[in-house]
């Protein structure tokens, strides 16, 4: 390395440090911490109140684990209930900043464990919650407006370093951007599917119902949704357009909440989008509500002139790697080619939100190689209705259950069977076609990240176009 290079690097690092370590008003991040904890608490309580703990984690006889996480098993019924009670408690601790460091790490571990138990529970917004919890566990968000700061005065600080906000903005921005990018496909833009299907079945809604069956409405909402996702982050970042953009965020998520059963997703995104506001927005808001001048923001240093913290470069590198991962990982599906909505390779963890109405019917054909006798095994022997619906359109899950069926057969009969699957699938209203090659022995195929040649090509037929059909009597 040349002397010149060595001379330049510290200067750049210092400039980076002044940017990332610049103290900012802690109010916004404290408010974010509070809202995030509150949502976590509400989410855990919903699972308990609605009986979902039993339905999702206790009653299923078989869990479709994530690749590499076969070793994870659910706790006992009492244990799972206790875990969700604990999640509600630690979420509340996060919200109020009580024992925050321990609470956020416990929340991260508990929530992620729950999500890793069964792939059929995968939701993009649950993944986002885990990622945000991961980021928050590295951020000292308990230094202001928290029980910790009240109990331990040494912790108190009215400011937090700017990198906290930057990281959260990258994370939330990635969600919106990639969700928008995923909508740039012919089904969404040229056929308005699956919105046309979903809206057509909601024509019973008062006032707006009759409109929802109109195809132009589905097209308008498809294009608007795509443009919203692709551009909202830019508008949220610009101070002049921020408020208007946030109003659109509220409108967009309120509409999706009203129309679709997407649970906590709108609330999470409405809270997440707050990271784009100025660090003092809660102060300004309170001042506005009280109709008086906002409380003064803390004194902020003009610049950082302190020596760099230990391992600053390494920390920056790790953060950069995280950001790079978040920006590249959702794109991995393009390495597989084809239509990701059909083959689903790389569809998870890539923010492909509400892009498909897809239903399948899987029947396993299990052949004893000694006798040549073939028997059918319906997935419901292993899965409940909810699991089966999610599973029946996802090739890797069909493969995983095929392996389990083969293992069970081998344990019973002492010989490895041939396991094939007859799996017709309809994507966005297309005529059902076979998702998998029906001649392939799935028991002999290893799960992995390579391109799955046993998945058949996407159907060439276009998605269905539904006509307007009112609910009521003429």
């Amino acid at each position: 390395m040349t002397e010149r290079a060595e001379a330049v690097r510290p200067g750049r690092l210092a400039r980076l440090a002044s940017l990332l370590l610049r103290p900012e008003d802690a109010a916004a991040l404290a408010a974010f911490r509070f809202c995030f904890g509150l949502l976590g608490c509400v989410s855990a309580i919903r699972f308990l109140v609605y009986g979902w703990v039993d339905e999702f984690f206790v009653k299923p006889r078989f869990f479709l684990s994530y690749w590499g996480f076969d070793w994870l098993a659910p706790l006992s019924a009492r244990g799972m209930h206790a875990l969700f009670v604990a999640l509600a408690v630690v979420s509340a601790c996060v919200a109020f900043g009580f024992l925050y460091r321990a609470a956020i790490v416990l929340f991260l571990l508990g929530f992620t464990y729950v999500q890793l138990l069964d792939v059929t529970n995968y939701l993009n917004h649950y993944y986002l919650v885990s990622l945000l919890a991961l980021l928050l566990s590295f951020m000292p968000l308990h230094r202001a407006y928290s029980v910790d700061a009240w109990l331990f005065p040494k912790l108190r600080s009215a400011t937090l370093p700017a990198w906290c906000t930057y990281l959260l903005r990258v994370q939330v921005g990635a969600v919106y951007f990639f969700a928008g990018l995923a909508k740039v496909n012919s089904d969404w833009l040229l056929h308005a599917q699956p919105l046309n299907i979903w809206l057509s079945s909601r024509t019973y809604l008062p006032i707006i119902g009759p409109l929802l069956g109109e195809r132009w409405v589905a097209f308008a909402m498809s294009w608007a949704g795509c443009l919203f996702d692709l551009t909202v982050v830019a508008f949220l970042l610009m101070p002049r357009t921020r408020v208007a953009a946030y109003a659109v965020v509220l409108f967009f998520h309120a509409v999706t909440k009203l129309l679709f059963p997407i649970g906590m997703f709108p609330a999470i995104m409405v809270v997440a989008a707050l990271v784009f506001f100025s660090p003092s927005w809660p102060r300004n808001l309170i001042g506005f509500l009280r109709r008086r001048a906002p409380a003064p923001a803390p004194a902020l240093p003009a610049r950082v002139a302190a020596p760099l913290p230990p391992l600053f470069g390494a920390r920056v590198a790790i953060a950069a790697c995280y950001c790079a991962f978040q920006l590249l990982w959702p794109l991995r599906t393009h390495l597989y080619g084809g239509n990701v909505l059909w083959h689903e390779q790389g569809i998870r963890f890539s923010w492909r939100v509400m892009l498909r109405e897809k239903n399948g019917s899987v029947t396993y054909l299990v052949t004893d190689p000694r006798t040549g006798r073939t028997q059918e095994v319906p997935p419901r022997k292993y899965l409940n209705g909810r699991q089966e619906r999610d599973f029946s359109t996802q090739p890797d899950l069909i493969l995983r259950l095929a392996h389990q069926i083969a293992r069970d057969f081998e344990a019973r009969e002492g010989v490895r069977p041939v396991v094939r699957a007859h799996a017709p699938v309809s994507l966005n209203g297309r005529p059902a076609e076979l998702l998998l090659d029906p001649t392939v022995d799935l028991a002999s195929i290893s799960d992995g990240l390579a391109k799955a040649t046993w998945i058949r090509p996407v159907p060439t037929a276009p998605p269905i176009h539904l006509e307007s059909l009112a609910w009521h009597r003429p």
């Binding site: 079945s201 909440k257 409405v270 300004n284 003009a302 019917s361 017709p424 006509e467 009521h472």
Partner: protein, 436 residues
């Protein structure tokens, strides 16, 4: 140590003092409201009043009446007219069945005192079960399981198959527990109903299905019954369960009928006060759930198991066929298919409003035609099976039963894929949960 040169905080944003900010606050409040009332927001909505003038689509795909109008004069097919037609069809079916069940009770009572009347009782049982098998795909609302909206589990009290137990019935014959009050309407479902009546009316053998270690065999109490006493007790027991079937048929009909339980009104008016269906889509989902009887019961239990292609350790499992004593497993499947066609294509051999009309109105004509054709093909495949007893047919001509199974599978594949996709229906027993 950091150099904290003090700077003043930025002035409050101008926007915060304007009307935009108020709109923002209003929006946040609205989101809070929406989030707090999420279930209400999604599941509790009314529909426009009957006289609303909003647009709709005229369509026809069923065979229709002479005017070619599947709506029977209403002129327009909507999901609401479909619900209306299904309720009407179901009421007609249940009314017919109730009369047949009453006939069965009368004939069975006569056969109790006059052994020569057993043939009439058998004929009455066949008439009743033929109607009931058509009603099997209609088991939503009071007939459906208790964990479904409005479900009272009445279907199982009339016909519990595949939950049947010949041994339990035979134990009752020995103990005469059928003489207890209300036995026909309160005993365990596998001791009564049409399945028990079938055994009691059709099986004339003197053996039993209990293990040698069971009480009736170990104590010799079964063997102690002579053939005449056995026949007499079977006739009495058959009369008791037949009376119970008529009572439960009346209860189910009453649960649906206007002026009594009037579930038909709840079904026809989802989203309105008093209806268990908080949305119209929920009511349609209930019907589609019941139609999955075609997969779980018909395709898998009635056909795949006896054929030996599911849950069968031998080459075939003829003992798993339905109707082992009356030997009418093929007509049962055929009647199930006809019941399914009533929902798919409309009552009365495809006349009237059915799901196909809604599919056509939505623009899914190809799917409607395909499903209608598949149902008719399956009925033809059932007709092609050479024996009314599928166990016999599997022994004589297994290919014909295999073809029937394949024909039914074509229906269930469409049901689970395109049908639920186009109509945006949920699969059965799908837990309400989040999506994204």
């Amino acid at each position: 140590m950091q150099n904290h040169s003090q700077v003043s905080a930025p002035p409050p944003r101008r926007w915060l003092q304007g009307s935009v900010a108020r709109a923002l606050l209003g929006g946040i409040f609205a989101i809070g409201l929406v989030a707090g009332c999420e279930r209400i927001a999604f599941y509790s909505t009314g529909r426009p009043p009957p006289d609303s003038n909003a647009s709709s689509t005229t369509a026809s795909s069923s065979t229709g009446d002479s005017s070619g109008d599947p709506t029977g004069g209403m002129g327009t097919v909507t999901r609401a007219t479909l619900l209306d037609a299904i309720a009407t069809c179901n009421l007609e079916l249940l009314d017919t069945f109730q009369k047949a069940a009453q006939e069965l009770a009368t004939e069975a009572a006569e056969a109790k005192t006059d052994p020569a009347g057993r043939a009439e009782a058998q004929a009455a049982w066949i008439k009743a079960i033929d109607i009931w098998q058509r009603a099997e795909p209609f088991q939503f609302g009071p007939g459906g399981p208790t964990n479904t909206p409005g479900g009272q589990g009445l279907r199982d009290t009339i016909y519990s198959w595949p939950l049947v137990s010949r041994c339990l019935v035979e134990q009752n014959i020995v103990s005469k527990s059928y003489e207890g009050p209300d036995f026909g309407t309160t005993a365990l479902i596998n001791m009564r109903g049409l399945a028990a009546a079938e055994y009691l009316l059709f099986y004339t053998g003197t053996d039993n299905a209990c293990t040698p270690a069971s009480g009736i065999n170990a104590t010799g109490s079964w063997a102690a019954l002579g053939a005449d006493e056995l026949a007499s007790r079977k006739a009495t027991y058959a009369s008791v369960v037949s009376t119970g079937i008529a009572a439960m048929a009346g209860k189910l009909l009453g649960a649906w009928r206007p002026g009594e339980g009037d579930f038909a009104a709840q079904f026809r008016n989802p989203g309105k006060s008093g209806s268990v269906y908080t949305t119209e889509q929920m009511a349609l989902n209930a019907v589609s759930d019941a139609m999955f009887h075609m997969e779980t019961h018909v395709k898998d239990q009635k056909l795949a198991r006896p054929l030996g292609i599911m849950d069968c350790s031998n080459a075939t499992c003829p003992e798993a066929v339905e109707s082992r004593f009356a030997r009418r497993s093929r007509p049962h499947v055929r009647n199930n298919l006809i019941g399914f066609r009533m929902l798919m294509s409309g009552c009365n051999d495809g006349e009237g409003v059915g799901f196909d009309d809604v599919l056509v109105a939505l623009g899914a004509t190809a799917l409607a035609e395909k499903m209608n054709a598949d149902v008719n093909a399956a009925i033809a495949a059932a007709d092609a099976v050479p024996s009314d007893d599928l166990a016999e047919a599997i022994a004589q001509d297994p290919e014909s039963v295999t073809k029937l199974h394949a024909a039914v599978k074509r229906i269930t594949d469409s049901l689970k894929t395109e049908f639920v996709t186009v109509l945006d229906l949920e699969l059965p027993q799908l837990l309400e949960g989040d999506n994204d």
